[in-house]
Amino acid sequence: MTKEVGIKDISKPSKQLIKLRLEDLMKLPPPYDKPGEEPPLTEPKEEWRERYITELDGYIAIDIPFDKPKNKDEEQRLVQRFLEGLKKLLDKENNWTFLQPLLLSLEYCAKCQTCNEACPIYLASGRKEIYRPTYRSEVLRRIWKKYLTPAGKIFGKFVSGDIELNWYTIARLAELAYRCTLCRRCTQVCPIGVDNGLIAHEIRKLFSQEMGVAPKPLHELGTVQQLKVGSSTALTPEGFKDIIEFIEDDIKERTGKNIKIPVDEKGADILLIHNAGEYLSWPENPAAFAIIFEEAGISWTLSSELVGYDAVNYGVWYDDVQLARIAMKHVEVARKLDVNRIVVGECGHAHKALCVVADRILVDEYNIPRESCMPILWDIVRKKKLNLDPEKNNFPVTLHDPCNMVRLMGIVEPQRKILREICPQFREMEPHGVYNYCCGGGSGFAIMTSMNFPEWRNKVATRMKFKQILTAFQDCIDPSIKKYVCAPCSNCKGAIRDMLDHYQATMKCGIYYGGLVELIVNAMVDIEEPFIEMF
């Protein structure tokens, strides 16, 4: 058998390494099993081809204009910069953060390809070679061996395999690092524990930390903006306070409850940090938290200080130093407020960044306890601190497991126990829990909306999740039956929102989405009007 694209093709001059075709993509369940039910694929615009990297698959994740080398000298300079970055990835001072896991994954992959069938992107694309989890890893591995190891220099391609490092390789590899959601399902099945997701993560770091190259929504408009103005959404402390007032008014209007949301209250038990995207796109989520925490008598506060009101930490996807900088700001805010612990709201990557990955960055006075909102919510429901009537949630509900919170943190049951308690028609997706599929918005994809990247996300990255959702609701797929996908994560919600919009699934299938706390408040007996609006 021969395939259209092999490893060494990454360095071959061509307009585009592969081209996606709708008919090759993974088939979807009814009603999307018929032709014409989903929008077609589009071609990249010609002007994009001149300014950005379309040489991989025609889609653009890195939305910084790229001046392609005009001569051999410029190309050689690019190659040298790349190799400098690669050396730093393998250096203990520059990459102490992930040196050991990276080197293990570079050195010991047996190329058995056991991981492939675990990858939702590879499967959804119709098994396009470049999306195979081992493809980008093998490209990087070959470059490392050929150019940086004594064995590669002595024995050549006998040990390194065939690869050439030129600007095509570098440019395509930069884009290819953003064709993996870092969900790490592939690592779960690897007999050796090799982590192809980590390799994608490290390639992103190489480009960001050595060359300053990363998608703008992650870097310039993400971590940099967050550190400068307080939030990756550009929400300022003043804007945040205005929104809190709006949310208080909205709670009053929708529930009749007079709730004063605590902001900057020193000495509270909990500093609750939400993804600031919630305040702008889904204010009902922080509103629901406020209602629940106040009714349950929790000692808590929000922060209006710079970065303190935005839990996101995009650094976890592409840049370790940016990760450290934001994590430091989060704990600094908590320290000033003298809280006992930081609790992260419904945001998966913020959970992982602050509770897990940054755990080994924070020392001394910065080492403040950090945990998830999920066990607290379950505790409130379990101890019946709220008067809940499950009948108010008597519609089909399924649960999406955010990878960062579930597979990468092991928070599996609290959210399920809540749903079993308050949603009579709760049903699981398959597979679920730690074996779930990514929403397709992971690792920054949900917020990367430049040019045609959303099309790739909707067609390829979220396709498996869409299939899962449709399958979970096949018994009630008629649009007249309102259904709810519970996604307790802001980025997942963003990806699911765009997916439902792209496939017009709310209109065609009656599928809605939202968080977990909204369902809890929706079940509260003393709130007369439905808190969740499905119309």
Binding site: M1, K3, I62, I64, P65, D67, K68, P69, L78, R81, G85, K92, N94, W96, T97, L99, Q100, P101, Y108, A110, K111, C112, Q113, T114, N116, E117, R132, T134, F155, K157, F158, V159, S160, G161, T187, V189, P191, I192, G193, V194, D195, Q209, E210, M211, G212, H219, V224, D320, V321, R325, V363, N367, P375, L408, M409, G410, I411, V412, G433, Y435
Partner: protein, 307 residues
């Protein structure tokens, strides 16, 4: 008096042990890395559903409990049966498992030869029949299984596009080398040493440092022995020694979930790493230590990506 062949046997074994140890030490002495665990983590009491201590409140005050038995079970299932490949890549497992299981049996066979030699030196004759029987079983099954598995792996590596395309020449060579050693061993066993008597005597001569004479070796056995010694020297330098990587990936990355508690060893290690200098060249760094870079960010960005 030891001859050149016996000395080379000691040397090859010593090189094997030293290089494997060096590789273990290389990984063991790397800086502590950021936490990167992946669930299910088998030592978690809630491992049945893939849960962790994060499912509870006030985790910093909780006394962590570890299900060491389950971790051992998971580890043995993976080591002995290659569970993940069995579940996810059955067509490769049917050749990979016999190869690995055969190698394990051959290693047990070697260990038994060693123990038998000690028994002879200690004059414990009564246990020799049991040792001989076990040597026969492990040696025979081991070499047959490993040879068949190796043949199958080689066929897959060369015949399957997805394996061949991703393999460098050395990966095929590794299997070929192992196959040649196994085939010469198989031939030597069947044709010249069906009861492993020569193997036993040779091991005795090694264990006794030459007090017991080395048996006369037919040429095929001599060739096999030399190749086996070369393989021993070769393995630790190659990916054939992936057991080293497997130990670290599972125990020190995927299942490593130790919390950085104030005053802990972890915190001390992290504090040291934060004093490393950030040597990355992107415009948002100023060449200071990790701690300084984290506390006082420089936030320059590039407008265009230029070569």
């Amino acid at each position: 008096m030891l001859n050149a062949l016996q000395i080379s046997s000691y040397v090859s074994f010593a090189i094997f042990v030293i290089v494997v140890l060096w590789k273990f030490i290389k990984y063991a002495t790397m800086p502590i890395h950021l936490r990167w665990e992946l669930y299910p983590v088998p030592h978690e009491p809630e491992h049945e559903h893939g849960g962790s201590f994060f499912e509870y409140q006030n985790i910093w005050k909780l006394e962590r409990k570890h299900d060491k038995m389950n971790e051992l079970k998971e580890m043995l299932e993976e080591m002995l049966f290659i569970k993940r490949m069995f579940q996810n890549k059955r067509d490769l497992w049917v050749v990979s498992w016999p190869f690995h299981a055969g190698i394990y049996l051959i290693l047990v066979w070697m260990a038994l030869l060693f123990v038998r030699a000690l028994l002879v030196l200690a004059g414990v004759q009564s246990l020799l029949p049991i040792a001989d029987a076990l040597i026969m079983i492990t040696g025979a099954i081991g070499v047959i299984a490993a040879t068949l598995g190796c043949l199958g792996l080689l066929a897959k590596r060369v015949g399957s596009w997805e394996l061949r395309e991703y393999s460098a020449g050395v990966e095929v060579f590794n299997l070929l080398f192992a196959l040649v050693v196994l085939l010469t061993g198989l031939f030597a066993w069947i044709k010249f040493d069906p009861n492993f008597d020569i193997a036993k005597e040779y091991m005795l001569s090694l264990v006794s440092f030459g007090s017991y004479p080395m048996p006369p070796l037919p040429k095929p056995i001599l060739i096999h022995l030399i190749l086996l010694e070369l393989l021993f020297v070769y393995i630790p330098f190659t990916k054939l020694a992936h057991y080293i990587g497997k130990y670290y990936t599972f125990h020190k990355v995927l299942w490593e979930d130790e919390i950085n508690k104030p005053g802990s060893e972890v915190e001390k290690k992290v504090r040291r790493c934060l004093q490393f200098r950030v040597g990355w060249s992107a415009p948002h760094f100023a060449g200071r230590t990790w701690a300084e870079e984290a506390i006082n960010p420089k936030l320059d960005v590039i407008e265009r990506w230029k070569p």
